[in-house]
């Protein structure tokens, strides 16, 4: 329900309720007063009726009395002259208005009756009246033949009583009407008689045509001898009955007076009508007024509510202020101001949320949205995202602080702004800007990249400082490198990192070198699960002792048969494990498995050295020596049965902890070997500082040993030098008879390669251990 309607309803309902209540009050009071008045009138009226009837009766009786003294009549009666008596009675009856005249003997028998000729000699029906008449004239209202009569009985003296004359004078409707007219009697008056069993019937009525008696009988009420409220035909009456002077032998006769409340209320009807008209008029006026007031209040509020809805949905364009000067207008004005303030604040917050405070450029989120919108807009067949990074920024922060860094970034942002003309420039991260170029292909993108580099290449000047930021740019192209803003941003960043690492300051994203492809994460998860489930396998590549012509050592190489991908190349997952920090777990697994295998073989009489590869990350683990020592003692394997192989790069840079780890391993009696010797930057001079016992010549030098004299010389030199420095020397990647022949000639200690055997499962490798005849010469001659 609207405010307007509710307000109006409240007004009107209050008005109506007050009016109705007042009307009810007035009606109740008036009705009660009228009932009291009716009772008073009826009581007075009842007494008046009885008195008037007595008065009339008395006058009539006087008349009858006079008549009874008529000498001729008396003579006729005394002389029993019946016809004279009858005619005289008729004559006198007419005079006094009697309808029936009777002559009654002193014995109570009817001697003459004007209503019945000849007299049938019956007894007079009201002997008590006849008896009383001798004392004084007797009168009573009696019911005869359904009519009411005054029955007046007087004696006839001649001069002693010789008979009685009874005069029956009808008490009929006209008489009652006359009674009412003579005195201010209530307008409803009835004479009623009991027709038996309390069944009251009216035998005469004055005025009104309401059957009070019948209604009383129907309601089962007895005669209301005190004022009583009765309902007749849906109308209300106050009724009062009064018993009339009656004969004992007659059915009881009573006068019932009715005071019609409705009639009494009739004068009030016009008042009520006027009242109702006033009420209706007031109601209409009130309704219109209430509607007007409500509208003046509600309309602005409704307008305000509509505006609030608009504000809620983000529309801060508030319409013109309300006219008028009321409280509502003030509220509306305040609301308008508030809306403006909110709008401005939201704009500021939105700007802050989407912009970088330092450069004033949009931030990464804004850039992502802008690129997303540009791509979603369609129509762009191509696009390029340039990620501009400042390589020296961390250095600048460390040396000159964030404040200068902010200046540098601000300066860089300013320099980048012109490029926004063709796209969208944003500050992607602390040290990176992104430049989105709409509809730009690879060539153009690279060209723009170099122009940016030119712009940023100018060193930043502040006071006497000149700061070179060393910018680099990574480029991701749409749609080749991704169709989503987030993907493009990430890949452009990958390309930037590649550019920062390389000499070329501009790099285009190369999916093949992206180390952050999502599937790698999956693979890592799988690797961890494989480690947990022991799904990895160790294969062993035999190393042939060229002097003994026997297999006396093996290199343990990890193999992973992925349930879905099949065999995963070791370099893939090992490198992944190194990058994701899982390499130590992998190493531990390899160590545990290979030491266990060494013990197994030792138990079967194969005394072998098992070589295990360590990663550079393993050397950061100070716990490694203790762990290996535990494993060796657990399996009862001699430290001399284990060789740990390290790449040159693993020990380059020589972090202190790595050297410590290596020394402790050497102290345990474990031999260390340098893998892939010859391709790195290591030198013998460098190795001398490490507890290394063996070097493994990289396959690069051994593969073409049969035909390349330079390689032969190099390998011979390494072997000789190694031996002189006390290292064992193993040649890797031996694949031809000529190679192995030559290696044996120059005194290389061990050979390893496909020519001897591939990396094999433990059982297969073990079969080779018992093979003693490795006739290298014959093998060479036979080829």
């Amino acid at each position: 329900m609207s405010f307007r309607l509710r307000l109006s309803v409240l007004f009107v309902a209050t008005l109506v309720a007050v009016q109705i209540f007042t009307a009810l009050l007035v009606y109740t009071v008036a009705r009660r007063a009228l009932i009291t008045e009716g009772e008073r009138q009826l009581t007075a009226g009842a007494a008046a009726v009885a008195r008037q009837l007595d008065d009339i009766s008395s006058r009539v009786a006087d008349n009858v009395q006079v008549l009874a003294l008529d000498y001729a009549l008396r003579a006729a009666i005394a002389q029993r002259d019946q016809s004279t008596v009858l005619s005289a009675l008729r004559n006198h009856g007419r005079r006094i208005g009697a309808e029936r005249m009777l002559l009654i003997g002193l014995d109570g028998s009817i001697r003459s009756d004007t209503a019945s000729v000849p007299a049938d000699g019956q007894s007079f029906p009201f002997p008590d009246l006849a008896d009383a008449a001798l004392d004084r004239p007797a009168a009573a209202v009696v019911a005869m033949d359904g009519k009411a009569y005054w029955m007046i009985v007087v004696p006839v003296y001649a001069p002693e009583p010789i008979a009685l004359i009874a005069a029956g004078i009808p008490v009929d409707n006209p008489l009652l009407v006359r009674l009412q007219q003579l005195s201010a009697l209530p307008n409803t008056i009835e004479l009623v008689t009991d027709t038996g069993k309390g069944h009251w019937t009216d035998i005469a009525r004055g005025g009104g045509d309401v059957a009070l008696a019948a209604a009383l009988t129907a309601a089962g009420n007895s005669l209301p001898l005190s004022p009583m409220l009765v309902h007749v035909d849906g109308r209300e009456y106050v009724a009062l009955a009064t018993r009339l002077r009656e004969s004992q032998r007659s059915a009881p006769v009573a006068a019932v007076l009715g005071y019609s409340l409705d009639d009494a209320l009739k004068p009030y009807r016009s008042v009520a009508l006027a009242w109702a008209s006033l009420l209706a008029l007031g109601l209409a006026a009130g309704l219109i007024g209430a509607m007007l007031i409500a509208r003046s209040v509600a309309q602005p509020i409704e307008a305000l509510a509509a505006t609030v809805h608009r504000v809620e949905s983000g529309d801060y364009t508030v319409s013109q202020p309300m006219r008028g000067h009321g409280e509502i207008s003030q509220l509306a004005s305040a609301f308008t101001n508030m809306t403006h303030a909110i709008g401005e604040r939201e704009e500021r917050i939105r700007h802050q949320a989407l912009h970088d405070a330092v450069t004033g450029l949009p931030n990464r989120k804004a850039a992502e949205t802008a690129i997303h919108d540009a791509l979603a807009g369609g129509g762009n067949a191509s696009g390029a995202l340039l990620m501009v990074g400042l390589a020296r920024l961390p250095e600048i922060i460390q040396t000159m602080g964030h404040s200068i860094c902010d200046h540098v970034m601000h300066d860089a942002g300013t320099k980048l702004r012109p490029f926004a003309a063709r796209g969208f420039v944003a500050r992607a991260t602390d040290a990176q800007f992104s430049v989105w170029l709409d509809g730009t292909g690879k060539t153009d993108a690279i060209a723009v990249a170099f122009r940016i580099l030119d712009a940023l290449g100018v060193p930043y000047q502040e006071a006497d400082l000149s700061i070179d930021t060393a910018p680099a740019i990574g480029i991701a192209l749409y749609p080749q490198h991704g169709s989503e803003a987030s993907v493009l941003l990430r890949r452009a960043e990958v390309a930037l990192i590649a550019a920062l690492d390389s000499a070329d300051p501009v790099a285009v994203y190369d999916p093949t070198t992206d180390p952050h492809r999502p599937e790698r994460l999956t693979l890592m998860t799988d690797l961890r699960e494989a480690l947990d489930r022991n799904d990895l396998r160790l294969h062993y590549q035999p190393k042939l002792n060229l002097r003994d012509r026997r297999i006396d050592s093996v290199e343990a190489l990890v193999r992973w048969n992925h349930p879905q991908r099949g065999s995963v190349p070791p370099e893939t997952f090992v490198a992944l494990a190194e990058k994701t920090g899982n390499i130590r777990r992998l190493t531990r697994w390899v160590l545990a498995s290979s030491i266990a295998q060494a013990q197994e073989w030792a138990a079967r009489g194969h005394m072998l050295r098992v070589a295990v590869n360590l990663s550079a990350r393993d050397l950061d683990d100070a716990e490694l020596p203790r762990r290996i020592g535990d494993l060796l003692s657990l399996h009862g394997v001699s430290p001399r049965s284990i060789v740990l192989e390290l790449t040159e790069s693993a020990v380059m840079g020589e972090p202190e902890i790595a050297v410590q780890v290596l020394k402790r391993l050497a102290d345990l009696g474990i031999d260390l070997a340098i893998d892939d010797f010859g391709v790195g930057q290591s030198s013998f001079a460098y190795l001398r500082r490490l507890p290394v016992r063996e070097i493994k010549i990289d396959r690069l030098f051994t593969q073409r040993l049969g035909e390349d004299p330079a390689d032969r010389t190099l390998v011979r030199s390494i072997v000789e030098l190694g031996h002189r420095l006390g290292y064992r020397v193993t040649a890797e990647g031996v694949e031809t008879r000529a190679s192995i022949e030559y290696l044996r000639e120059i005194g290389c200690d061990h050979a390893q390669g496909f020519y001897i055997a591939r990396a094999l499962p433990a059982e297969a490798a073990e079969r080779l251990f018992t093979r003693t005849e490795w006739d290298l010469t014959r093998a060479g001659t036979s080829s």
Partner: protein, 212 residues
């Protein structure tokens, strides 16, 4: 008003009285302690003629101040009655009684001719001009007959002992109702009898008659 006759009889026997003669004293009241005058009491005894046997005589009913005087007069059959007008108005004397019917207009100072009352009976006489005028002529052959005095007493003396039929009559007894009548034993001792009579209003008080 109901017609209720209440009478109480007290018979007191005087043991010491002589057997040859007795006395009977009757007292009459109206039930309210007022003595009733003008009541006629008759006594009859088997085989007794009584002292009433006498020669016929003429009695005068005077009319004075529009009143018959006396109100009740006792006659023997054969007696005569004369109505005398002592007023200054005329009187129209009449009787419709079965025992004797007559009608005289008597001018002031005049008297009616004598009327011989031959038959036993009660004759009510009125005046047609003055309703309140009424007198009763009681014609009886009873051996003993007497009219009550103003103090309501009737006394009989020198009554031979024996059983008597006693009857009381009064003009205002209700029509159709006989007065008290009973057998009374009289011996040497005086007998006192008291009767209460229920009477109609005195018709001579005409002012009351027409009023409620």
């Amino acid at each position: 008003m109901t017609c209720h006759l209440q009478f109480v009889v007290w018979v007191l026997l005087a043991v010491a009285a002589p057997a040859s003669a007795g006395a009977l004293s009757i007292r009459l009241d109206d039930g309210h302690g007022h003595p009733v005058a003008d009541a006629v009491v008759t006594l009859r005894k088997e085989g007794e003629a009584g002292p009433s046997q006498r020669a016929a005589m003429t009695k005068i009913i005077d009319q004075r101040d529009e009143t018959f005087i006396p109100y009740v007069e006792i006659f023997r059959p054969g007696d005569q009655v004369v109505f005398r007008n002592s007023d200054r108005t005329r009187h129209h004397v009449y009787s419709f009684a079965p025992a004797k019917t007559f009608e005289f207009v008597i001018v002031p100072g005049a008297s009616s001719p004598p009327v011989t009352l031959d038959h036993v009976g009660e004759i009510s006489v009125g005046c047609n001009i003055h309703d309140q005028m009424i007198t009763h002529l009681y014609v009886s052959d009873a051996p003993w007959i007497s009219r009550s005095s103003n103090d309501g007493r009737v006394d009989f003396e020198q009554l031979p002992t024996g059983s008597y039929q006693l009857e009381v009559w009064h003009p205002q007894l209700r029509p159709g109702r006989a007065g008290p009548h009973q057998d009374v034993a009289v011996d040497d001792a005086p007998v006192n009898v008291t009767y209460s009579l229920s009477l109609l209003p005195d018709p001579r008080q005409t002012g009351d008659r027409a009023r409620y």
